[in-house]
Subunit: 821 residues, 2 copies
């Protein structure tokens, strides 16, 4: 019996849309009005019925737009094995959801119907296989690992509201065998798979608490800003505050502040703080027991509203101006046009179409002799798996674990903000890419999807794959007789996640010499501070605005498999030495030498990039020497900046981000230490579900399956150039993995995209182009049509989210809806 | 009277070509057989007579190849002022040379006729103006600075052979006013402008010394390698050794070693060391007093040839194999072809032609609102001057000062090698670029030229200027309502200098946000070591080969003028703090804050990049606050790796490269401290003509005209991936200059190459392209022809050097000659 054919009467009865104007328009939340942690339900827009083609079109194979100037390229390929890190398909999700609703012990309510005291399904996605199971399949003849769903329940029908990680399966669901069990082994505390939910009462926090407080000081907000924050339609202020909440001494403390709202489409609310802060003790789920604990304005703390009001209306009270949006906060073109800028700008073309192959069903990619699979999760977005060169695995898993943005300031809002962005999730915000801008127009684009409230949302064209050529060659040499030079073509897999105000661009690049880079570039709006005596925490960048200082740290898991899983990490430093030699005639020479050591165990497993970049970090296989007796391996090389968190023992984060304290951290790989952070670590910072520091328990790191946890980052002190948006030229961090005695020689010799010209007496006497593609003699690219379609041609296709309802399962009526998750 | 009309009888008499087979074929020298310091004369090739067009064609304005898809672009511009950092024109050089030969006190001999005991002209080029004089001209109404020639004489007609820096002028030469004087003020020791020349006897070092020693062990070299190094036509070994020579205790000591020679065109000699070393005391100019001081093989030192020979022929002597070239050392395509690689690779096109303007006569460039002049010198190659944005100068001078490559090893050759590359000169090796490989095919190319032996050599198309677009945008932001994204087009000025084995690519890039980057990437052949027990100094990378460890450090002078010349350097660090606040309820919070300080004087002026990249280095004008009260300035930001020399108090370099000891060094700008290094520092390492350390004498650095001396670098431990050539993907170092509160907001808002798409319900509801260029609706780029000429079309034009004889001046008979300088 097909499991998705039967829709239970209960489900149908509860599937009506429940919209409240309040929920849609007036709710304000951390980071930006339209971004939400995954807990709430915020309404659905009207359905449309013509979009199946958009989804299907992108899941089918794409032929190159017109192959020409070349042999006909085969740009589809069948993956050697199924992608075991893939997402679930529609019917699988629908079947899991249906089965879950049939389990009475779970006491689940349809999200549309749920109140703050109901249990709902927060997440349904594919559970990753254990590595040993995956290897048996991808490297051997074993069966594909049994498929399970990873489900998160948002259990609020209890005083102790919590998220519950559970496993559901096996898939496909068979009522005779399907079961659920707590997913406990990922948590490194005795949790039963549960994590405290401090966000359970988000709705009443606004309706019953924050807006009432806003109303209680309406006289002041009207006087200061001619505006209110009372939960009304015509409010032009919003209220939101710190993340994580203070969780000390058994109390849950909020700090909130007032913000102006944008007056146009531009998402500049994080540039409009107003400088009035208040603190609430919101411990427990009974609002009648919550307490307002004081006000802060202009650096002065008032214990009560009365005290604040009295001071406010007294003579000599110092009032500051507001931050109000305007051209300074708008990203549109402005200022004097640049010379020649209205002429077409340089653009990359792919004359032969794309020179790589994709299995669109399996999200499997081959470029030159590299291959990899793409996985995608709600928490961390895109990740790469089973990265191989010529069939030999280099990396089993490469992906983001968590990203933090830790602010500081002389006010409680900025001092108290330390976002752990997987709480919001990178997956839901992996938006559609703009062709010709975010990636070349000719790139291959893939869709991504995520679960929310009994639907899946699909972002069309939100991962791009393309080949590019850098402005510099990969190799060259000139003498007075000849010149040899090779193009640096490379391959990029990219996605961009906009977590509220900030856009994080993740680029994984593959090069001809065997090197691979991981880069993050950031743009979007900064989260700023109200300027009032906080010069020690940032620059003043506008009328009443401080570019609030903050550290970005992004943790990547890199599970290298260098010629198998028995790997070691070697440090090799260039060090000054003073030494005499048999030939130095008794003299001591000041020179240098190499100093080598291995990271023996996890006690030595956490460290930083060394002084003067003089220490190489090498992942090697001690049992695999090359023919010269050297260890084959890969070097980890800082590229465009990297760093760790400056704050030590952060009061905000406690144990929730212990992964951020060092540049490089190495552990023995274990199924129970699969993720470096839990998306809900922010909900219990002192005793989080995954405390990264507990990974370090002295285990051996020589000849073991190792995971490197690498931090990228940036100490960001926004200046006027961050207005309106931070720019990706300088907001960057990256790491390269480069072969170190891994191959016999430079791999880039294999490309024909090189030339050698011998010359003499002013004449090229020999031009060797190695069989590379040559254009016709008339310079017109022969009879071929050139693949240059200016990017503006495609903007009309920009979609937004496509939503498919899973319960009741309604695959034939997808609709567009991007308002929120 | 025209000064270039009269050719003296003496000059004509001495202008005959003097070629010796010996000099051309058998001479071996440091770094590669074909590379030479500027001292010698090595013959001329046959003349050709059809190349004037090549020179003139490139000095004339270039129209864009076909302007289309756009307004017609005007890509030539007249520089606002003459380039006062320019090179001398042919007639100026000819007149200086003629005048010099007329000065009997200089006792000069035509280089073609000169022996090792004659004085010759080593260099004639433009003397740079003092900055105060230049500013009066470029910023005011003052006259152009009086023009002088900087001349170096190679005075060998004396026991104390020396190079003499002199000034000759004013130009144009008028016999009534012209004079010469020692150029003393650049040397920071009492030198009279003179520098010891240890290279004066280079010819007889070979003929009278090294080859005789080679012959004395011919029995051994034949036995070991079936080859000889005796100065014979059929020698297949070369001999060369350390640089600088040992200069301790009043003695001049050489260490030399044997190398195999390449068997094909490939310049792989530096991969073919043979592991036999010998030491000579070559103090003084009388070869009869030189002494052989011992041999080294396999780590064993022998004091005499007899002792070495006795050991060699005794039983049990351990012999190693040779390094012999082969495919492993050849850069040509090899290995299995890559999938799809014979299809045309991605390529950048400029649909509208070039969107920038050049004054080809003045080497002046305008891109968007940036402008700058290009200068060029024999020592350091290309440099940029008077870099402005919208007419406001940011940087007065930006250019390389010196580059070192300091090796280490257990043998005296590698331990003793510490190249200071301006000795060889970056200018003479700024070779012609390969279009479509080194730079885009559509780039604008400029020529460079340098003086040697009464001629000037011109490298056609050896500087390129182009606009590119990166694979990522400069700005973007998405919400559920709209997306805004801006292309990252940028402008590059590039040259590549191949100093013997190594190719250094210098790229100066300009970005839309006001940031500027300086990058060096390296390729070419490594200089390797014979592998014999030297695992502490590198990897074994081939049969008998070690990838000899070495540090590259490249020093750049950056003379910022931030809103005038009164600048300061501020350090701003993100530091952890533990602090309570009025609102923190008595609790101490672990957070962070900014810590700021100024570099007060030169005693504090030398430092390194800080731990965790947490310290910003800002060049500011303390008197120029922006409207928010913040200091306007530029930040110095490490980009793709940077570093300083690991070796402390190098025995090889002594005081010759004191600029290499720190990442960042700041001095008060002075006319007498114009260059950070002298090209002949290697000739007198203990007491060099320019000792950079002497710049630091405690002078005030607050509100002064400052120079930042920034080191780029790389600790290079070559591995198998450096064979045959090092690759530019990972051999890189760069620094960015980014605005810090310099402008009111992000400058990139000025470009129209951005798009905003509002979307709703799956439809783009507004597409704003800001008047940017749009193609025709049929996607064909309208009726415009697309500027895509595959790069292979242009390789036949590759030229090599064009030589114009200056004495006798013979401008109408240029010839091609790239054999050597």
């Amino acid at each position: 019996m097909g499991f998705f054919d039967v829709i239970s009467p209960r489900a149908i009865a509860t599937s009506a849309l429940v919209l409240t104007t309040f929920a849609q328009d007036a709710l304000a939340a951390p980071k930006a009005p339209w971004i939400r942690p995954g807990g709430g339900y915020y309404g659905k827009k009207k359905m449309s019925n013509h979009i199946k083609r958009a989804i299907e079109g992108n899941n089918q194979k794409r032929a190159p737009e017109t192959p020409f100037c070349a042999e006909s390229l085969t740009t589809t390929v069948k993956a050697p094995k199924d992608n075991v890190w893939g997402t679930l398909v529609d019917v699988e999700i629908a079947s899991v959801v249906e089965w879950l609703f049939a389990q009475e012990d779970l006491n689940l309510t349809i999200t549309d119907d749920a109140t703050g005291w109901d249990n709902t399904i927060q997440l349904v996605e594919a559970m990753w296989p254990n590595k040993t199971d995956a290897l048996a399949y991808i490297d051997g003849t074993g069966p594909a690992p049994t498929k399970y769903a990873h489900v998160v329940l948002n259990n609020r029908a209890t005083e102790d509201a919590h998220y519950a990680d559970i496993l559901v399966g096996p898939l496909p669901i068979d009522n005779a065998t399907a079961k659920w069990e707590p997913l406990t082994y990922l948590h490194n505390k005795p949790s039963g798979g549960k994590v405290r939910n401090l966000d359970a009462d988000n709705d009443i926090v606004y309706s019953e608490w924050l807006f009432k407080i806003g109303a209680s000081v309406a006289d002041i907000t009207l006087d200061l800003w001619n505006a209110t924050a009372m939960g009304l339609e015509n409010d032009t202020l919003s209220i939101w505050g710190i993340d994580p909440l203070w969780q000390d001494d058994g109390r849950i403390i909020r700090w909130d502040t007032f913000w102006n709202t944008p007056t146009e489409v531009f998402d500049d609310s994080t540039l409009l703080p107003l400088g009035l802060y208040f603190s609430s003790d919101v411990t427990g789920r009974d609002p009648s027991k919550w307490k307002l604990e004081g006000w802060l304005y202009n650096g002065i703390f008032y214990e009560t509203t009365e005290a604040f009001r009295a001071a406010y209306w007294s003579e000599g009270f110092v009032k500051h101006g507001a931050n109000v949006d305007g051209d300074w906060a708008r990203t549109d073109h402005q200022g004097e046009p640049l010379p020649m800028d209205s002429a077409a700008a340089p653009e990359l073309i792919a004359p032969a179409g794309n020179r790589f192959a994709v299995d669109h069903k399996q999200n499997y990619v081959e470029w030159q002799d590299y291959s990899f699979y793409i996985g995608f999760t709600r928490d961390a977005g895109m990740a790469l798996y089973d990265i191989r060169y010529k069939g030999e695995r280099l990396i089993y898993e490469l992906g983001l674990q968590e990203a933090l943005a830790h602010y500081a300031g002389n006010d409680p809002m900025n001092s108290g903000t330390a976002y752990l962005d997987t709480f919001y999730g990178f997956g839901p915000y992996t938006f559609e890419l703009v062709k010709g801008y975010d990636c070349p127009a000719h790139a291959v684009y893939l869709n991504t999807s995520f679960y929310v409230a009994e639907t899946t949302h699909t972002h069309i064209d939100s991962v791009c794959l393309f080949e590019y050529v850098s402005d510099f060659p990969i190799q060259r040499h000139t003498t007075s007789d000849y010149v040899s030079v090779t193009k640096n073509t490379y391959f990029v897999a990219r996605s961009i996640s906009t977590i509220g105000n900030y856009d994080y661009m993740f680029s994984y690049s593959f090069f001809n010499d065997g090197s691979i880079s991981v880069e993050v570039r950031a743009s979007g709006y900064i989260q700023s501070a109200f300027f009032a005596g906080n010069g020690d925490y940032g620059f003043k960048i506008h009328d009443n605005l401080s570019g609030s200082m903050h550290d970005h740290v992004l943790n990547f898991k890199v599970d290298f498999d260098i010629l198998g899983t028995n790997n070691s990490v070697q440090l090799m430093s260039t060090v000054p030495v003073s030494k005499s030699y048999p030939w130095s005639k008794g003299k001591v020479r000041n020179t240098m030498a190499l100093s080598r050591s291995f990271i023996e165990n996890e006690d030595e497993g956490r460290f930083n990039w060394g002084h003067n970049s003089a220490t190489q970090v090498l992942v090697v296989n001690e049992d695999e020497l090359n023919k010269h007796g050297e260890l084959r391996g890969y070097r980890i090389l800082p590229y465009t900046g990297a760093g760790h968190l400056v704050v030590e023992n952060s009061t905000n984060l406690a144990n929730a981000a212990n992964w951020a304290s060092h540049d490089i951290q190495i552990t023995k790989r274990k199924d129970t230490e699969y993720k470096g952070a839990h998306a809900y670590n922010s909900q219990d910072v002192h005793d989080p579900p995954i405390d990264f520091a507990k990974f370090f328990d002295g285990e051996n790191l020589r000849k073991e399956d190792l995971v490197l946890w690498l931090n990228l980052g940036m100490h960001h002190i926004p200046h006027t150039g961050d207005l309106p948006n931070t720019v990706m030229t300088t907001a960057h961090s990256g790491i390269q993995f480069m072969p170190s005695n891994y191959f016999d020689g430079d791999l880039s010799r294999r490309t024909v995209n090189q030339v050698r010209i011998n010359y003499e007496n002013g004449t090229a006497t020999e031009i060797e182009t190695f069989g590379q593609f040559k254009a016709a003699e008339d310079g017109s690219c022969g009879t071929c049509k050139l693949d240059y379609t200016p990017a503006d041609r495609k903007h009309g296709d920009y979609h937004g989210d496509i939503v498919v309802r899973k319960f009741p399962f309604d695959p034939n009526n997808p609709y567009f809806e991007s308002e929120s998750i």
